[in-house]
Amino acid sequence: MLSPRGAALILAAVALLLAAGNAYETLRRSMLPLALDGRVESEEVRREKHPGIDDVHLLAIDGETVHVDEPVAGLVTEGDELRKEAWSSTLIIDGTGHDLKLSSDATGMFVVMPLVLVVLPALVLTRGRSPAPGSTRPART
């Protein structure tokens, strides 16, 4: 059986993984972490619940599909040759350099994810305890 502390640690570890995953995925969609050297074979836009706002932009680059943000998708067209070093903010399209910026989604994640990770320990550290019925143990405050 887990103790409350053990359960709290497991939940915290899961939260950390999820938050890190969110931060990286939104960063990835800005292309910043990616190393690229290939041709854009196709572009595809798939609609979600709010067309024009949460559209999914997919680029096929030398057989690999990459999900990118709308500003990035707007820079490239089918047939473009892309070059980029990992973690560089410069995307070279057909020999011309273009600056990549953090998307608003990525920026938002870097704010919201730490906040959620702060709320979690606050919840755990301030947890109260209602004694089980019939218990002589006083309520923990």
Binding site: R46, H50, V111, A132
Partner: protein, 135 residues
């Protein structure tokens, strides 16, 4: 340390604070808030069953239930809510909501009647989640 009887209020405050953060940080992406709130809400409703268990089982039950909720969220995101693609950000957001719900309930050793507040708050939050996800 707050009194245990305030756990429902603390849970509501936690939901409001984190939801407000999502709403303010992503004003155009209400689906992020929707997924987070739906994950929180559905998990809280599942967690209401934990109150039917002996107190010594509850921390384990909370962790297991949270993982079940996350797995169910994976299933829905892979199927009925897979409109364009399986979005890992949507999955992560709803799973974070699930974990926050688990943290809210952890430590409440109250009687089974306490499940009522979890169900009630979960229902309200679920309505909010669907509203923001599809608004």
């Amino acid at each position: 340390m707050i009194p245990a009887r305030h756990i429902p209020v603390r849970t509501a405050v936690a939901a409001l604070v984190t939801s407000a953060a999502f709403g303010l940080a992503f004003p155009d992406r209400t689906d992020y808030l929707g997924h987070y709130l739906a994950g929180f809400a559905a998990t809280l409703m599942l967690l209401s069953l934990v109150y039917l268990m002996p107190v010594r089982w509850r921390p384990t039950a909370i962790v297991v239930t949270t993982f079940i909720a996350i797995a169910l969220g994976w299933g829905t995101e892979s199927t009925i809510f897979k409109l364009a693609i399986f979005d890992p950000v949507d999955f992560n957001n709803q799973s974070l909501g699930a974990v926050v719900a688990g943290a809210c309930v952890l430590g409440d050793e109250g009687p089974p009647i306490n499940m009522v507040w979890a169900l009630a708050l979960g229902t309200v939050a679920l309505i909010g989640g669907f509203y923001f996800a599809f608004a």
